[in-house]
C-alpha cells in the first residue's frame, strides 16, 4: 500500500443487514469529522443519511447488521464482490448481535406462535456474523461502535497506516479513566476482563457492570471468570444470562451463554469457516493489528 494515491477518491459505501441502525448513526454522529471525511472520499451509498445510491464498486464498504434471511445471505456475497475492503461494524455484524439469541431457540415454534401465516416469513434458522459468509478485511466491534475507533479506521486508510485499535480488555480503559473496579469493590458480575477494549469503559464509569457488547477479548479466559462469579454466590442461571447478551454468539461467550427460554444448550454452528478474516491483500499488510484472531471468533 504505502502512499495513498491522491488521484482517485475512495468510493465508500454503507450497507445494512439485520440491525437497529445504531452503528450507522454513529457514523452520522461524527458531525464535523464526517464532513471532513466526506471532503476526501465519495460516499456513494449511505441510505440512512444520503440520497445518492450505488450498488458498487466500493473501495471501502462498511457493513452493519447480521445475516438472518436467505436474501441477506445472497446479498452479502454480491456486496463482497463489489468491495475492495469490507469492514464489518458493530456487534450484529461481528458476532450476530442480540438477535442471535434466537439461535438457541426453536424458530419454527416462535414463528407459529407470533404470526398467523408463518409460511410467509422467510428467515434463516440462525442470525450469524458477516464473517461466517464472506471474508472480512477488518472489523469494528461494539454496540454501537465507538466513534473514535471509526474515525481512526478512516484516518488510517487515508493516511496509509495501520489502524490503531487498542487490543486489550475493558479493564485497561477503566483503569486509565480511574474508575474503581466493580468486581473487587462490589462483587459485581462485570465482563470487562474478558471483553475487548474500544468503548472507553463507559458503563463501569456509571457504576454499571460491563456486559460485553464489544465481544470477547483474545484470549478470554471465560472459565476462570465464571468460576469467580460462582464463588461470589451467583447461580448458574444468572451466569448463563450474563453471557447471553449482545455478543452471546461469539465463540468464547457462546459456550457459556444460557438465554432465557433457550431450548438448546448450544446454538447450531456451521462447519468452521476457514480463515474468514483476511490478512490483507497480497503485498498489503492487514488493516488492523496483525494477529487479531477474529477468524477464531
Amino acid at each position: 500500500m504505502g502512499r495513498p494515491t491522491t488521484a482517485a477518491r475512495l468510493r465508500v459505501g454503507v450497507a445494512r443487514f439485520t440491525s437497529c441502525g445504531g452503528c450507522q448513526l454513529t457514523l452520522a454522529g461524527l458531525h464535523e469529522a464526517l464532513l471532513a471525511v466526506a471532503d476526501r472520499v465519495d460516499i456513494v451509498e449511505f441510505a440512512e443519511v444520503l440520497s445518492p445510491r450505488s450498488s458498487g464498486p466500493y473501495d471501502l464498504l462498511l457493513v452493519e447488521g447480521s445475516v438472518s434471511t436467505p436474501d441477506q445471505a445472497r446479498r452479502i456475497s454480491e456486496l463482497r464482490r463489489q468491495a475492495r475492503l469490507l469492514v464489518t461494524i458493530g456487534a450484529c455484524a461481528t458476532t450476530g448481535g442480540i438477535q442471535a439469541l434466537r439461535n438457541w431457540s426453536d424458530g419454527d415454534a416462535w414463528r407459529a406462535a407470533v404470526y398467523p401465516q408463518p409460511q410467509f416469513i422467510h428467515a434463516l434458522r440462525t442470525s450469524t456474523p458477516i464473517s461466517e459468509h464472506v471474508t472480512v478485511d477488518a472489523l469494528l466491534r461494539g454496540c454501537p461502535i465507538d466513534p473514535g475507533q471509526l474515525a481512526e479506521l478512516v484516518t488510517a486508510l487515508l493516511v496509509g497506516r495501520r489502524a490503531q485499535l487498542l487490543d486489550a480488555t475493558v479493564c485497561m480503559e477503566c483503569k486509565a479513566r480511574g474508575t474503581v473496579c466493580l468486581i473487587s469493590s462490589q462483587g459485581a458480575p462485570c465482563l470487562g476482563p474478558v471483553t475487548k477494549s474500544g468503548c472507553g469503559a463507559i458503563c463501569p464509569a456509571f457504576g454499571r457492570a460491563c456486559y460485553g457488547c464489544f465481544g470477547p477479548a483474545h484470549p478470554a479466559n471465560v472459565e476462570a471468570l465464571k468460576a469467580q462469579f460462582a464463588d461470589q454466590g451467583r447461580s448458574d442461571e444468572e451466569i448463563g444470562r450474563l453471557f447471553a447478551g449482545f455478543t452471546a454468539n461469539a465463540p468464547a461467550f457462546r459456550a457459556n451463554a444460557r438465554p432465557p427460554l433457550a431450548v438448546l444448550d448450544q446454538p447450531p454452528v456451521g462447519p468452521e469457516p476457514a480463515a474468514r478474516i483476511s490478512h490483507g491483500f497480497p503485498g498489503v499488510p492487514p488493516l488492523t493489528a496483525s494477529g487479531d484472531d477474529d477468524a477464531r471468533q
Binding site: 497506516r161 474478558v194 479466559n221
Partner: protein, 683 residues
C-alpha cells in the same frame, strides 16, 4: 526536594488539620489526597480537610475490597486503594512529540512537559518506595523520561506512616514499610488526638512553620512508634525475599506457571494498579492527511496480546503463561538485574484488584519456594501458601555468566528528539527490500558504530527501529523490508523526502574484541544489513585482524542483498567468502543449503576466533551451536536479538528479554551474557 534529615517532631491537633491542607495548597499547588469515591478510597484533588476519609477504613483480600466504617474518626485509618501516585507522576496519556509534513519537508517538535505543581498527601511507605523505584527506571538511567522527571520534581510529598494494615499488605517482606524513613518533604503519624509531623526538606520545613504546632512529647512519639511497630508485627513476613531472584530464575520451567495461567484472565489489572509498572506504547493521532500528527504515550501492559509481537506476525510471548511469567519474574527477579531493587513494594494492590484474586505471595511460594531449612517465625498468613515441588531445570545451551548487565550506551547527541534527514537516493535490493541513502544527517548519528540502530519516523506513522546498513562521512544507509505499514511508507519514499531519526541507539558490534584474532561473520537474509558496517570497518583496517571469514545465507538467489558488495567480497583474496541459498532454480550455479554447512566441516581452528552472527533467531541458534562445536568460546560469539521496540531507549518496556532491554543493553549480546535467555520459548 525531599531529603532524609532528622528533624524535631511536632504535634498538630486534629482540629487544625485543615491548616495543613491550606498550607499545602498555598501558592496555587493542587493537593491530591485520599477521598471516598465510588466505594473506594481513591487519590483525587481535594480542597479541604472535610473531604478526607475520616472514619473510613478498608477490608482487603484477594479480589476483594470493601470500605468499612471505623468506630473512630481517624483520617488515615485505611491502607492503599485502587489508585496509586503513578496516576499523577506517570499519567495514562502523555504527548511525546508533534510531527509535521509539508510537501517533502518534515519537522519534529518534542513535547515540553509543563506539569502543574502538586502536593501528595498520604503517601505510604510502600508508595514512597514505589516512587523511588520509578525514579530509577524513568529518571536515573541513561535515558530519562522528561515528563516523569518534571512531575516528580514538582510534587511535594507528605508521607503517612501506616497505623493499620490490610491482609494483602507485605511491605515488611519487601523492606518498604510500614515505617517511613526517607524520601518525603513532610511525614505524618496519626494518633487519636492529632498528628505527629516532621519535615525532611526545606519545602517541608517551610510548610511546617506555618502550622499551629507544638513540640511533640516523648510519650506521643512513643505511642506513634508503638502503633507502627504493631503493624509490622501484624504483617509478619509473608514472602521470603532472600535468594528470591535466584529461586525464581531457577524455576522458569515450573508447572506452576501453567497452573496460574488457568486462572489468569490476562486482563492487565495487576499491572495497571501496580505503582511501579511502567510499560507504555506510543500511539499516533493525526489529521486525515497525516500532515500534522501527535505521538502520545499510553499505559500498556505486558499482559496485552500484542505486547511482544513483531512486524511479520511473530509473537515472542504468545501464551498467557508466558506473559504471567514475564510479569512475575520481572517484578521479583530481573528487575533486580536491571535496576538493583525489586520492582514490587508489597502494597498488595495486585492481590485485591485481581478479578479472580490471584495472590502473588502464594504464587511465589508455589513456584519459587524457600528452602525447607528456612525456619522463621512468620505471620499467620503464611500458613495459606502451599509449597509445591520444583520442576527439573532445563539444560541450557550455554551456562550464563553471573555478570551484571552490560553498560548501556547513551546516544552521542540526539537524546530523545527526532532530527530530520533527507532521502538522497534509494536502491531496491530485492522485491520487498530497499536501501535508503540518507543525507543531511546529524553528525552525532553519523558517528554511529557498526551494529547500532536508529528509530525512524514519518509523521503520522509509528517510529520503527532500523539498523544502519552503511556509514560514511556524509551518508547513512538504511536497508528496510516492507513488512508493515510503517516500513511500506519508508520504502515508498523518493529523493528529497524527509524522515526523522533518533539515535544512534543500542550497543554495536564489539570490534575491539576481534582485533588480532580471526573473525567469523555469519549473516542470514536481511541480517546482513547490520553486519555490513562491521564488514566495511574490518576490511578498511584489514591488517588489524587475523583471517576474515564471511558466510552469507539467503532464501533464494533473488533475495540476496548488496549484490555489488558480495561481488567485491567474493573476489578479495584477503577474505574467505562463501554464500548459499535455501533453494534456487536451475540457473543458479552456486551453493544451495543452510548457511551452517558453509563452515560446519571446515578445518580452521575456532578456539581463538571471534564470531558475529545476525539473522532470524532460529538461524542464529543453528549458527551458534555450530560455532561452539567448532571450538569458539561463548563469550566470543556475538548475536543480535529482535524484540518489539516502541521507544528504543529502554523506557517502554516492550523489548525485554529476561533481564535485558534489547534496545539499550543490546541488541548485540554475547552468547555467554545471554545464557539460557537465548532460544528459550516464551521468554
Amino acid at each position: 526536594m525531599p531529603g532524609t534529615a532528622e528533624a524535631t517532631v511536632s504535634f498538630l491537633a486534629r482540629a487544625d488539620l485543615d491548616e495543613l491542607i491550606q498550607a499545602l495548597r498555598a501558592g496555587g499547588r493542587r493537593l491530591i489526597g485520599p477521598t471516598v469515591s465510588d466505594g473506594a478510597i481513591v487519590y483525587d484533588e481535594i480542597q479541604q480537610a472535610a473531604e478526607l476519609p475520616h472514619g473510613w477504613g478498608d477490608e482487603q483480600g484477594p479480589g476483594h475490597y470493601r470500605l468499612t466504617r471505623r468506630d473512630d474518626e481517624r483520617t488515615f485509618g485505611f491502607v492503599v486503594g485502587p489508585t496509586s501516585w503513578k496516576r499523577f507522576t506517570f499519567p495514562p496519556t502523555v504527548p511525546l512529540w508533534r510531527a509535521r509534513r509539508d510537501g517533502t519537508e518534515v519537522s519534529f517538535e518534542s513535547a515540553e512537559p509543563e506539569p502543574a505543581p502538586l502536593a501528595f498527601l498520604g503517601v505510604r511507605g510502600c508508595e514512597l518506595a514505589a516512587l523511588g523505584v520509578q525514579d530509577r527506571v524513568l529518571r536515573d538511567g541513561p535515558f530519562a523520561d522528561a515528563d516523569f522527571r518534571a512531575r516528580r520534581a514538582n510534587a511535594l510529598i507528605v508521607a503517612v506512616e501506616c497505623t493499620t494494615s490490610a491482609s494483602t499488605c507485605f511491605c515488611t517482606s519487601m523492606g518498604t514499610g510500614p515505617e517511613v524513613r526517607a524520601g518525603y518533604d513532610l511525614r505524618l503519624t496519626e494518633l487519636d488526638e492529632g498528628f505527629l509531623l516532621d519535615a525532611a526538606s526545606d519545602a517541608g520545613t517551610a510548610i511546617l512553620q506555618r502550622l499551629p504546632v507544638r513540640a511533640a512529647t516523648d510519650a506521643e512519639q512513643a505511642r506513634a512508634s508503638t502503633a507502627v511497630a504493631a503493624v509490622r508485627e501484624e504483617l509478619g513476613d509473608p514472602v521470603m525475599t532472600d535468594g528470591l531472584r535466584d529461586r525464581l530464575l531457577a524455576n522458569l520451567d515450573s508447572p506452576g506457571w501453567a497452573s496460574v495461567a488457568e486462572r489468569c484472565l490476562t486482563c492487565a489489572n495487576c499491572t495497571l494498579v501496580c505503582p511501579t509498572c511502567f510499560c507504555t506504547s506510543v500511539g499516533q493521532a493525526s489529521d486525515l492527511d497525516g500532515l500534522d500528527s501527535t505521538a502520545e504515550r499510553h499505559w500498556d501492559s505486558c499482559f496485552t496480546p500484542g505486547f511482544a509481537r513483531v512486524a511479520g506476525g511473530g509473537d515472542f510471548r504468545a501464551r498467557p503463561q508466558d506473559r504471567y511469567r514475564q510479569w512475575l519474574t520481572h517484578k521479583f527477579a530481573t528487575w533486580v538485574d536491571q535496576f538493583g531493587t525489586f520492582g514490587c513494594v508489597g502494597c498488595g494492590r495486585c492481590i485485591a484488584w485481581c478479578p479472580v484474586g490471584i495472590d502473588v505471595r502464594q504464587e511465589l511460594a508455589a513456584i519459587a519456594p524457600p528452602p525447607e531449612s528456612a525456619a522463621r517465625s512468620t505471620g499467620v498468613r503464611e500458613a495459606r501458601f502451599v509449597v509445591r515441588a520444583t520442576a527439573p531445570a532445563r539444560e541450557p545451551l550455554v551456562q550464563a555468566q553471573a555478570s551484571p548487565a552490560p553498560a548501556p550506551v547513551a546516544p552521542a547527541g540526539t537524546g530523545l528528539d527526532f532530527l530530520p534527514a533527507v532521502v538522497r537516493s534509494s536502491f531496491p535490493e530485492t522485491a520487498d527490500t530497499l536501501t535508503l541513502v540518507l543525507g543531511d544527517v546529524d553528525p552525532a548519528i553519523l558517528a554511529a558504530r557498526p551494529g547500532q540502530f536508529v528509530m525512524v519516523e514519518r509523521p503520522a506513522f509509528p517510529a520503527v527501529p532500523i539498523s544502519i546498513s552503511r556509514l560514511s562521512e556524509v551518508h547513512l544507509d538504511l536497508t528496510i523490508r516492507a513488512a508493515g505499514f510503517a516500513t511500506a511508507e519508508l520504502t515508498g519514499l523518493g529523493p528529497g523526502e524527509g524522515v526523522g531519526l533518533r539515535g544512534p541507539l543500542g550497543r554495536g558490534w564489539p570490534i575491539e574484541a576481534a582485533v588480532g584474532r580471526d573473525v567469523v561473520i555469519v549473516a542470514g537474509g536481511i541480517g546482513l544489513a547490520p553486519l555490513r558496517p562491521l564488514v566495511d570497518r574490518v576490511l578498511s583496517e584489514r591488517e588489524r585482524f587475523g583471517a576474515v571469514r564471511l558466510y552469507v545465507g539467503a532464501r533464494t538467489p533473488r533475495d540476496r542483498l548488496f549484490g555489488l558488495d558480495i561481488s567485491e567480497w567474493g573476489t578479495r583474496d584477503d577474505v574467505e567468502f562463501a554464500e548459499t541459498v535455501d533453494r534456487a532454480g536451475a540457473e543458479w550455479l552456486g551453493r544451495v543449503g543452510v548457511v551452517t554447512h558453509l563452515f560446519d566441516t571446515a578445518e580452521w581452528d575456532g578456539s581463538q576466533a571471534v564470531a558475529f552472527v545476525c539473522g532470524p533467531e532460529r538461524m542464529m541458534q543453528a549458527a551458534a551451536a555450530t560455532l561452539l562445536a567448532r571450538g569458539l568460546a561463548p563469550e566470543r560469539v556475538y548475536v543480535t536479538m529482535e524484540r518489539h521496540m516502541e521507544c528504543g531507549v529502554g523506557l517502554c518496556g516492550h523489548c525485554q528479554l529476561g533481564g535485558f532491554f534489547v534496545c539499550k543493553d543490546g541488541p548485540v549480546f554475547s552468547l555467554a551474557e545471554l545464557g539460557d535467555a537465548f532460544g528459550r520459548e516464551g521468554l
